[in-house]
């Protein structure tokens, strides 16, 4: 084990700094106002760290959906290997650290007046706004997959009711049924997520409904950790999982939730359970703030995480264009910490400064086996760049104990990242 310290140590170090920073009454400068929209892995982290780094700041976190339901590990819930309750996180501990929690929906943002209006009627003023709103689905981008289609054909790409629904449909399916998944073109939330999900559903079918099968239709020819997933599928699920690349007519062009049909250019599939992971974009509030571009995602200066379209608005997490950093919980959490640092620097008259960044992401290929991808990036010069010679995936040829070790690390990672984000 290498670089690291516990959350308690890290927080203790920060609060030591915080105590020294407490301003005497003579210091009558108005408290800087930092508003964070979105209480997930990016926003909850950013709010907590901003308050710790700058205790005199007025930090407000807006989240509409409490408790927050975490997406990482939700594929285990779908496969019946984990309770959905383990995905729920409350934000009270962040509140206890002095962050004002507003359980409401950010309805609109006025960049000129620097205000966030709330669905509940209030309005928040900010000096710096951190947007970490996550994704919205592009309803209708896949023909037939309009709002409402997720009842018959769940996406389960936002954790919660949809996760439970897909799980229930798999449980209710007769042995011998056909499960069909549709994976989108990049970019989308959690690049290896569809393949981890396919692996775990295939495990469920093999062990519980062995006459059933999963077909994964893909709008891509290549995907994250591809060699690792394909090796695992050949070893564990040769009769239960078939992946079809875009070049092999894998791209779904139309779905019909009424008849449970998915169509590619040349073929039609009748599904007993259909999981559609549709094309995505930054959540709608980003568009209303004017920080999303024609792609639907949010361009940012990589050093400051500040929108290139609107000053004083920073965007982190899945909504931001941070490639080659993936849209992952680890990326969002690190961006939350670094963005908080840059925001308090800017509010204190200091320049934003570049750094090295990292990502780590584990995917289960079996209930006891996982694979990983890791990478290091630099954000000087306003863009994110991968560091040459660093990063990569787990070895493809590896004994089972390497996979088992990474599964245990994955579990420890989930405990760490959720502590780091939600206190």
């Amino acid at each position: 084990m290498t670089c690291g310290l516990t959350r308690r140590q890290f927080a203790a170090g920060l609060s030591a700094t915080a105590a020294a920073t407490a301003a005497p009454p003579a210091f009558a400068q108005a408290a800087p106002r930092i508003v964070v929209v979105g209480g997930g892995f990016g926003g909850a982290t950013a709010a907590r760290f901003a308050k710790q780094l700058m205790p005199r700041a007025d930090v407000t976190l807006v989240e509409r959906s409490l408790p927050y339901m975490a997406c990482p590990f939700s594929n285990l819930v779908i496969a019946g290997l984990r309770d959905i309750g383990a995905q729920a996180f409350r934000l009270e501990r962040i509140q206890a650290r002095g962050v004002r929690l507003v359980a409401d929906t950010a309805r609109d943002i006025d960049p000129a007046r620097r205000t966030v209006s709330l669905a509940g009627g209030g309005e928040l003023s900010y000096d710096r706004l951190i947007l970490s709103p996550g994704i919205d689905l592009r309803w209708g981008a896949l023909e037939g997959y309009e709002a409402g289609a997720e009842t018959a054909m769940p996406h389960a790409w936002k954790a919660g009711e949809q996760t439970r629904r897909l799980r229930r449909q798999l449980e209710d399916m007769e042995d011998g049924g056909l499960v069909v998944m549709s994976a989108p073109a990049a970019p989308y939330r959690c690049p290896p997520g569809p393949y981890e999900r396919a692996s775990l559903i295939a495990h469920y079918l093999r062990t519980q409904k062995p006459r059933s099968k999963l077909i994964l239709l893909d709008a891509k020819n290549e995907f994250s950790k591809m060699a690792l997933f394909q090796a695992a599928w050949a070893e564990h699920y040769p009769d239960h999982l078939e992946w079809r690349a875009a070049r092999d007519d894998g791209r779904v062009s139309r779905v019909d939730p009424g008849s449970m049909k998915l169509e590619t250019d040349f073929e039609s599939f009748s599904a007993d359970v259909a999981n559609i992971i549709p094309p995505q974009k930054a959540a709608a509030i980003a568009g209303r703030a004017g920080v999303a571009d024609a792609t639907g995602w949010c361009p940012v200066d990589a050093t400051r995480f500040e929108s290139t379209l609107q000053p004083n608005i920073h965007v982190i997490g899945d909504a931001a264009i941070a490639a080659p950093m993936p849209k992952s919980a680890f990326s969002a959490n690190l961006q939350g910490k670094l963005c908080a640092m840059q925001v308090v620097r800017l509010l204190s008259g200091l320049e934003a400064e570049a750094t090295a960044l990292a990502n780590t992401c584990y995917s289960y290929v079996t209930p006891q086996g996982a694979v990983s991808i890791a990478d290091v990036y630099r954000n000087d010069g306003g863009t994110f760049e991968s560091v040459e010679g660093a990063g990569g995936v787990s070895p493809v040829e590896a004994p089972g104990d390497v996979r088992r070790a990474e599964a245990r690390e994955a579990e420890a990672w989930f405990a760490a990242i959720t502590t780091e984000a939600f206190g």
């Binding site: 290498t2 670089c3 310290l5 516990t6 020294a20 640092m341 400064e353 990478d375 660093a390 420890a412």
Partner: protein, 110 residues
């Protein structure tokens, strides 16, 4: 800002506090330390190492020398299978030094 700079800034802060200077001068100094180069580099570590420390160990009580030695071993070992082998190769020796010292200092402070 270098780690040395960050520590110097914190020392400066302590002196300023003793001298009873106005807080206005303090905040930039502590912020500079808390958001300095070493703090930024080390921010990635707690994304995995903030847990109780079983499968992914915590560094509680580790010295800067121990942390540096481990990171160096990960960086140089060929054929390693963990994420740390792949991550450590992305940092210069100077950065590893800064991260190690920062983490050890933070742990002491806790």
């Amino acid at each position: 800002m270098t780690l040395k700079g960050a520590l110097a800034a914190m020392t400066g802060l302590a002196l300023a506090a003793c001298a009873g200077e106005a807080g206005k001068a303090r905040e930039p100094a502590t912020l500079a330390a808390g958001t300095g180069e070493a703090a930024r580099l080390a921010a990635a570590c707690s994304g995995c190492h903030a847990g109780p420390g079983a499968e992914i160990a915590s560094l509680e009580g580790r010295s800067a020398g121990d942390i540096r030695a481990m990171l160096g071993a990960y960086k140089s070992e060929r054929g390693g299978t963990t994420v740390m082998h792949r991550l450590s190769r992305g940092y210069t020796d100077t950065e590893i030094e800064a991260i190690s010292t920062y983490l050890a200092t933070q742990a002491e402070g806790g």
